[in-house]
Symmetry: C2
Subunit: 132 residues, 2 copies
DNA sequence: ATTGACCCTAACATTGATGTCAAGGTTTAT
DNA sequence: ATAAACCTTGACATCAATGTTAGGGTCAAT
């Protein structure tokens, strides 16, 4: 199949498919006219890439184990675990930071309401307010 | 004071101070030789900017209420609340997304250990392991 | 033979705060 | 007078995946 069809079947833009190829995540044969020609398997491969990208991994990280996970069960690819652990640590850090900021914001918002009693009710859904 | 001193006193790089000025967050007088000349108050202003940046707000958002909060208590600046609410909503979304990814990662890591019993103990702190 | 729907490569744009470098002027101390 | 330590503006680089555009080839149907 050509790139347009692969794009439609996976929901990944043509631009991104070419990028994945450039990053070494997928390969393609070429037709006589220079068009890329993909196996049926490419659909699954691209969906796999999509999955790992949604997990927040970079194309570089994915390229480190993609070859293995396409052939084996993920659990049997030793390259996967360290990447997962690293990502998990990053995410925990980010959640911590966001949680701290969130608490700070909430506290400040709370304080604004304390100092502005007239704001109290405006918080509620406007739809429910007859006088608005 | 000149920009180098302001930088030292606030811990904000000279580059960033110029950027803040370009974004309209601070102003400076000029000496005869063209050097920027700051009030003592600038130290507090820059620290205020730093604080809001650490809260995750953009310079554009900060510029929307900085003028007010420098003169009044934050709670009395009506421009602040909507920005805080927007930021809070964004943060909640981010935390949700990260939490979902985290659960996914943890599940997959867990599964890898299930499938690789020999990895079990390597999880612990290497320092504590006599045989390592 | 022309139109429309494909495909190709290459390159620039996006986002936002900051780093860094270039090329040059000023000041201060020696 | 010279070196060191300041200051100036302007511009390019960063990060990463993706969008977009330009300029051009291919193919199918009319």
């Amino acid at each position: 199949m050509k790139i347009g069809e692969l794009s439609k079947r996976t929901g990944v833009s043509v631009r991104s498919l070419r990028y994945y190829e450039q990053q070494g995540l997928i390969t393609s044969a070429r037709l006589d006219n220079g068009y890329r020609d993909y196996h049926n398997l490419a659909v699954e491969q691209v969906n796999t890439i999509k999955f790992y990208l949604e997990l927040g991994l970079s194309t570089e990280q994915i390229s480190g184990f993609l070859h293995c996970v396409l052939k084996n069960k993920e659990a049997f690819c030793k390259e996967v675990l360290p990447v997962y652990k690293k990502k998990l640590a990053e995410i925990n850090e980010q959640i911590q930071l966001l949680t701290r900021i969130k608490a700070n914001l909430e506290e400040r918002i709370h304080f604004i309401f304390l100092e502005n009693p007239q704001l109290e009710e405006e918080e509620n859904d406007v739809e429910k307010c007859d006088r608005c």
